[in-house]
């Protein structure tokens, strides 16, 4: 049964390992995956602990439906206090790791302490072992994984690893698995590095009994038909996420030259069709690959066509790499995007954060806030492709003053650089914004400002807001499973009703993250995809757990609140520019200079934005300072946290 998968507590300092079952009442309250991780983080870390110290606790998990017949149940979640933001650190990735961990008997790992020398954890059919990783330390993301397979003499082992960036304590290092599946954002790889933990390797052949196999299979088939019939997923399956970048750039939603423009010009060479051409030229007609059990197959395969890495195989680039190494730095050249993407994959480093910080440094260079003295003579001009590639390497290996400075993340770097460099840093809660520009889209701006792990598109973005769906369609989506009769607007430049959409999406995404399903299988980019009602059914068919759509919604609200509680405990304050739900002033002061007719000239109206935050807090049951009201905590059963149920 999926519900008999266990939780393991591993102390790297003492070598102590304990395994426990996950009680049913805990499942009903938090399900699994990110939600239960958030509960574990809140319960197993002390207030104010050093994110790079042994007291920080690292959670690794699969969702409650991982490896079952619920379609695309591949997601692995990683959580800890973030060394980048000092707040909630959370990362989610696809691939094949979490299902393998479930077949090895576990859904959740709670890792504490710090090993004396580099080690890796090996989990095999219920057994857990801490093994020497001194020979593997220093190796790239993929080489580490192959080395672990050699060490164990088993080619079927799946590992999540930190690359050189994590070892070098780059504050935004990724946890990675496979070629490019990245637990990116908020520096979870850095936490692995700080614990001398090179990797977690898993191999499992233990049965997971499906509660009602026939129904589970048939519902999975229905899911898949629904998912692949959505135009957006067909496009994803053909072009991968680069299509989103192309579409967004066309109307003017792409951050360019840090935050100076909202559209990248002369970008033909990194348009999705061009990237796809390169994939086809180097890998053949069928060059898309997918995560475990997923029919969307949104990940492209390519070989770098030219330059010093010519012929090297990699996967992607995702639209984040187009944004990071194409748009933001104004280097819209395929070779730069593909090479940059390869380097961050190899090093295990967040492409979004890396590109954002390089483009920020480029603007500072343009303004004379930093000079060639700080860059070691690199001409850090926008549009300088070689400088972008060079800086990726310098950040990972902390080479030179600027490389070392940027490796500590934007806020720390801005404090070191001084002057008014902070004003140009496009971040929320210490994490750089996605490459998208939300000045014309208040709903997306609100989502960026209020994301629990910092500015992000994967915590609460109502992406379907851009589709101008008729109001009755919006209402159908956004008033399920709980009623909503407040205002809604089909207009993406509006402020009306957006807080509810963001609140709804926040719970929708928490829902999939607890279940372990990919966001492309829910109301993210496609308006017709499964959500709460379908989850209630797949949960029952696969695990036997009976929960109504409303109950799953409640779990999501509860888990989002736990994340909020953690952030508040670590110092989140509403209007704090470094630790709050607030955007960089440029969103309010500088209008969009490019883009579609209804975009150019737009900026976020601060007064209306603050009203949106108020309204969003109200939906969440928070007071005006963003702190949960006592009755909210009571209603969610969170009155006595930390409650140490598990």
């Amino acid at each position: 049964m999926p519900l008999d998968r266990k939780i393991a507590y591993i102390d790297l300092t003492t070598g102590d390992i304990q395994t426990k079952p996950i009680p049913l009442d805990v499942r009903k309250k938090f399900l699994g995956g990110r939600g239960l991780d958030a509960y574990l983080l809140y319960n197993h870390t002390e207030k104010g602990c050093d994110p790079l110290g042994p007291k920080n606790t690292l959670m690794v998990s699969g969702g409650i439906l991982t490896a079952t017949c619920a379609s695309a149940t591949a997601r692995t979640h990683i959580m800890a206090k973030s060394p980048l933001t000092g707040l909630l650190g959370s990362a989610n990735m696809g691939g094949f790791f979490a299902p393998e961990m479930a077949w090895a008997g576990f859904h959740h790992l709670v890792i504490k302490g710090k090993a004396k020398h580099p080690v890796y954890i090996y989990i095999h059919n219920g057994e857990i072992e801490i093994r020497d990783a001194r020979d593997i330390w220093g190796q790239s993301v993929t080489d580490s994984q192959w080395a672990i397979r050699e060490d164990l003499g088993d080619q079927e082992v799946k590992s999540l690893v930190c690359g050189p960036a994590g070892e070098n304590l780059v504050r935004f290092a990724n946890v990675m698995t496979g070629i490019k599946n990245s637990g990116g954002r908020s520096g979870m790889g850095c936490v692995l590095g700080s614990k001398n933990l090179k990797a977690v390797a898993v191999r499992g052949t233990m049965d997971i009994k499906i509660a009602r196999p026939k129904e589970a299979l048939e519902y999975n088939k229905r899911f898949i038909d629904q998912i692949v019939s959505a135009k957006v997923n067909q496009t994803q399956g053909a072009l991968g996420t680069p299509f989103i970048w192309g579409a967004t750039n066309s109307w003017g939603g792409i951050r360019t030259r840090n935050f100076q423009y909202n559209q990248c010009e002369y970008a033909d060479d990194i348009e999705p069709e061009r990237i796809d051409e390169i994939c086809e030229e180097t890998m053949g007609k069928y060059h898309m690959t997918g995560c475990f059990g997923c029919q969307v197959h949104c990940r492209a395969q390519y070989k770098i066509p030219s330059g010093p890495y010519a012929g090297t195989y990699d996967e992607g680039p995702e639209y984040t790499s187009q944004g990071a190494f194409g748009g933001e730095t104004d280097t819209p050249r395929a070779i730069t995007v593909l090479t940059g993407n390869h380097l961050v994959n190899k090093f295990g480093m967040d492409n979004l954060e890396t590109g954002s910080l390089i483009s920020w440094a480029m603007e500072l260079y343009e303004l004379g806030i930093i000079t060639s003295k700080e860059t070691d003579g690199i001409d850090l001009k926008f549009g300088n492709d070689d400088a972008v590639i060079e800086m990726i390497d310098r950040i990972c290996f902390r080479k030179g003053w600027l490389g070392d400075t940027l490796a500590d993340g934007g806020i720390a770097a801005s404090e070191k650089i001084g002057k008014n460099s902070f004003n140009y840093l496009i971040q929320v809660k210490g994490m750089s914004n996605l490459h998208s520009d939300e000045r014309a889209t208040p709903a997306l701006a609100l989502n960026s400002a209020t994301g629990s792990r910092g500015s992000d598109h994967l915590r609460s973005r109502p992406a379907i807001d851009l589709y101008h769906l008729p109001e009755e369609v919006l209402r159908k989506i956004y008033s399920n499973p709980v009623p909503y009769d407040g205002p809604l607007s089909s207009e993406h430049t509006e402020y009306i009703g957006k807080p509810w959409q963001v609140f709804w999406q926040e719970n929708c995404y928490m829902g999939v993250d607890c279940l372990g399903i990919c966001k492309y299988h829910t109301t993210f980019l496609g308006a017709t995809l499964p959500n709460f009602e379908d989850w209630s059914k797949v949960l029952y068919y696969n695990t036997g757990l009976e929960m109504t759509p409303e109950e799953i919604w409640d779990v999501a609200v509860r888990c989002n609140m736990i994340e909020r509680l953690f952030n508040l405990r670590e110092g989140l304050a509403r209007d704090d520019l470094k630790k709050g739900d607030m955007l960089n002033h440029r969103y309010f002061d500088e209008p969009c200079r490019r883009g579609a007719i209804d975009v150019v000239g737009r900026k976020i109206d601060k007064k209306k934005f603050i009203q949106m935050i108020d309204e969003f807090y109200e939906h969440k049951g928070l007071d005006n300072n963003g702190v949960p009201k006592p009755e909210t905590l009571k209603k969610l059963g969170l009155k006595n946290e930390p409650s140490h149920l598990v």
Partner: protein, 168 residues
């Protein structure tokens, strides 16, 4: 019977490596998620992005059938498949040893050899593979798909040659 003479055809180029076939195979047959119970297995060269699904070919002159010391394996003409009679099988695993494709597996939990049975004419791996990397076609047409692919390549090459000639 409609399924008579039908065979599985694997177009490995199309395989995205998602392993959904392994999952649905195990759930369909055993009601359990566990790829070691799957009759089909995707072999991967991840560093090169190459994935090849391997399954039983239902060989005409089947080594598994020939080697079985107790004649537990026989041909079922209705579905064009080789089947194991578990009342006769002694679990010696000789069939596992001789299968040139590694398509005969041994389940160490149930202590039984097992192989693809074409799901009695409705192979779930085929049903769930949206990219058609596995197809279930008439044996007579087994090479038709490959012929079509090859013809398409020739056609493209021909057009390119004509375009080149026109440029000259």
């Amino acid at each position: 019977m409609e399924s008579m003479g039908k065979v599985l055809v694997i177009n490995y180029e199309k395989c995205t490596g998602c392993r959904l076939c392994e999952l649905v195979c195990a759930v369909m047959h055993d009601g359990i998620s566990n790829p070691t119970r799957s009759r089909i297995k995707v072999i991967k060269w991840e560093a090169e992005g190459l994935y090849i699904p391997m399954s039983c070919q239902q060989c005409e002159d089947a080594p598994c059938m020939n080697v079985c010391p107790v004649k537990a394996i026989s041909r079922d003409e209705e579905f064009g498949r080789l089947v194991i009679d578990y009342d006769v099988c002694i679990g010696c695993r000789s069939c596992v040893a001789v299968c040139p494709f590694g398509a005969m597996s041994f389940n160490s939990i149930d202590k039984k050899v097992f192989k693809c049975d074409l799901c009695d004419g409705d192979p779930q791996c085929v049903r769930f593979c949206e990219v058609n990397a596995i197809e279930y076609v008439d044996a007579d047409d087994v090479s038709l798909l490959k012929k079509k692919d090859a013809a398409e390549r020739i056609s493209i090459a021909g057009k390119e040659a004509a375009a080149l000639a026109a440029q000259v």
